[in-house]
């Protein structure tokens, strides 16, 4: 979207964006309002970058891949946790409220301090897993099984949506517990007992209250709530694997 307007001569309709603003050292936060042209395929992230380029260069926001793979553009849009890069802006009503993620300290504007998420992850976190796509395929010589990245993109939407995290900063959170369950499903040399020990902390798997908001918010099909329940099943003596359902 450029300042010059729509290619066929007319400008797309504008929406009002209410954007949370805060700089370190400010006494408090505030909301700034902007009128932003929103075309048919425009995303919330594109609208925010338009504001950055054409209205206020001091607006800080995180983004990187623009296709829901890096997990950096997580924020609350009209009260719901989303990745801004894949959230259409033209179906959100005439006023769109944009805030940073909840339950994580704000660094500035729409940027939160992601150390809060990363420090809770178990040390042994895996990055690569066996690929579950196209099981009928036979990999070429020299490749035993196809592999792919783990689903979790460390976006923090689950932590923001979790009602337990809203009241307790000690709770380790859905992302960390889901990662632990993944290590039980696919150990890759990690000792399962260590994971179970880590997870049975009072601020671990037992602090979850089955609200399932994390699974609702997750943009990458991690299904953290189901995995936490499976983890609890494992802690109680059983052993369960949560099937990955390919979104389509």
């Amino acid at each position: 979207m450029s300042e010059a307007g729509h290619p066929n001569g007319s400008s797309p309709p504008t929406r009002t964006f209410r954007v949370y603003r805060y700089k370190r050292g400010d006494p408090g936060w505030r909301f700034d309002g902007f009128e932003v042209p929103v075309g048919a395929r425009a995303t919330v992230l594109e609208a925010l970058r338009w504001i950055q380029l054409h209205r206020d260069r001091t607006l800080a926001l995180r983004h990187s891949c623009l296709h829901a793979s890096c997990g950096t553009c997580g924020m609350q849009v009209n009260g719901r946790e989303v990745l801004a890069c894949v959230t259409p802006a033209d179906t959100l009503g005439s006023t769109i409220t944009v805030e940073p993620l909840a339950n994580i300290p704000v660094l500035t504007d729409l940027v939160v301090d992601m150390r809060q998420l990363f420090e809770r992850l178990p040390d042994e976190i895996g990055t690569v897993r066996t690929s579950d796509a196209l099981p009928q395929a036979s990999p070429p010589d020299g490749i035993e099984t196809y592999e792919r990245f783990e689903d979790c993109i460390e976006c923090g939407l689950c932590l923001s949506a979790c009602p337990v995290s809203a009241t307790s900063d000690a709770y380790v959170g859905p992302a960390a517990l889901a990662a632990a369950q993944r290590l039980l499903e696919e150990p890759r040399g990690v000792d399962p007992e260590r994971i179970l020990d880590w997870a049975q902390d009072p601020n671990g798997a037992w602090q979850c209250h089955a609200a399932f908001e994390c699974t609702e918010a997750c943009p990458s099909n991690v299904r953290p709530a189901e995995r936490i329940m499976a983890l609890r099943g494992a802690l109680a003596g059983g052993r369960r694997t949560v099937a990955t359902v390919m979104p389509g």
Binding site: L53, H63, V111, L134, M246
Partner: protein
């Protein structure tokens, strides 16, 4: 594999790197290992420029084996090095180059010969073998060649360089925008910056300033009164729901639109197209390019036609060459270090061009130029230092290796 070097001494020369993409991060890592003090400033989140947006291909170089052998050789060398120094950051499933038409087959012999000449290990396959490896391929394919492509996480792999540099003592600032360069007596001595986190502004001083801003290189260079021959050249990419392949699927022909499908987690990314712009901040996502990704991608994997839409976006390549090239495809994909002392401005170096796969190699060569200029007699050691996991960037304490 060795670990990071001890922290730089206070008398070591100080380099200010402008630009927090893969190039800046790799350079910060390279210089830190040589004992040089490093400050890096990036106006947004690290890799938020071009680096984070590409489809994630770890190049085998095969795409350039016929027309741009210099790039091809750079790629295959860096391909092997990156797998070794960034373990766990790739989906290592190799790739296929697939010939669909008789016209494609005319390219086959040159392609195979080019790969061999560049040292790219390949395996020629029958259509049956290819379909066995990738069941969703176009069943009408005529030939296939296996190449050592891989998928990288476009943000997380470069983030490892930032993490390692940070733990080695480099000062890395995201959300710090360069407003102007400080030029005194024919030399660049620093930069005026605004901290977007606190709102404060001020000057940072350094013995040398490096312009590592990719397609924005021209904009920064003009602050020093020099020019760099960079054409921002965007391309469109399309992400679709469904992991339609495990290997990277390439069309066997000279470069064209929509000729690659890269799997990423549970998505498939189809790319890309090419045009040139003046301003890399104003990037459209032309609808006809998005449609072209669908139709061209569907020639390789028919399921692309019906797959659910996830995202469509543009990213600007930093192509070296004159601004009047029409499509951007004719320009070389190699990289360059430009010492602006040749333009009469001391203390200022631009590193630009290149691709995600060659980030470490670019940083090594630029690091060599910078070290010579600063009188630091230490070679690059990035070939053999395993980088810290990307999670180490955020953790307070140094974490175990992946």
């Amino acid at each position: 594999m060795t670990r990071s070097a001890p922290r730089a001494s206070r008398d070591a020369p100080h380099v200010l790197i402008v630009g927090g993409g893969g190039t800046g991060g790799a350079l910060a890592h390279d210089l830190t290992l040589r004992g040089i003090r490093v400050t890096l400033v990036e106006r947004g989140e690290f890799t938020s420029g071009t680096t984070g947006r590409h489809h994630g291909l770890l190049h085998s170089g095969a795409r350039y084996a016929v027309n741009d052998r210099e790039s091809a050789i750079e790629c295959i060398e860096e391909n092997a090095i990156l797998r070794a120094i960034c373990p766990g950051s790739f989906e290592e499933n190799d790739g296929l180059f697939v010939a669909l038409t008789d016209e494609d087959l005319e390219y086959y012999a040159d392609f195979v010969e080019g790969c061999k000449a560049c040292g790219i290990p390949i395996e020629e396959l029958t259509p049956q073998e290819a379909l066995g490896m990738e069941p969703l391929l176009n069943p009408e394919l005529k030939a296939a060649v296996r190449v050592p492509d891989a998928t990288m996480d476009a943000m997380r792999m470069p983030l490892r360089f930032f993490a390692t540099a940070k733990h080695g003592g480099a000062t890395l600032y995201n959300f710090m925008e360069v407003l102007d360069l400080v030029v005194e007596g024919g030399a660049v001595t620093g930069a005026t910056v605004r901290d977007q986190v606190t709102g404060s502004e001020g000057d940072l001083h350094a013995d040398l300033v490096v312009n590592a801003t990719g397609p924005w290189s021209e904009k920064i260079a003009r602050m020093a009164g020099v020019d760099v021959p960079i054409s921002p050249s965007p391309g469109v990419m399309l992400a679709l729901y469904g992991r339609l392949c495990n290997m990277v699927i390439n069309r066997m022909h000279r470069s064209g639109d929509g000729d690659i499908v890269v799997p990423q987690r549970a998505l498939s990314v189809v790319g890309t197209s090419s045009w040139t712009v003046e301003d890399p901040d104003e990037l459209d996502v032309p609808e006809d390019h998005v449609t072209r990704m669908r139709t061209e991608g569907a020639k390789l994997i028919p399921a692309v036609a019906q797959a659910g839409f996830r995202a469509a976006w543009s990213a600007a390549r930093p192509l070296i060459g004159a601004m009047d090239a029409d499509s951007g495809r004719e320009l070389s994909r190699t990289f360059k270090t430009i010492d602006h002392a040749d333009d009469g401005v001391e203390g200022f170096v631009t590193i630009t061009g290149g691709k995600a796969t060659t980030l470490r190699g670019m940083a090594e060569l630029c690091g060599d130029v910078i070290s010579r200029k600063l009188g630091v007699d230490r070679p690059s050691t990035t070939r053999t230092v395993t980088t810290l996991p990307h999670t180490a960037f955020y953790a307070e304490t140094e974490r175990r290796l992946a």
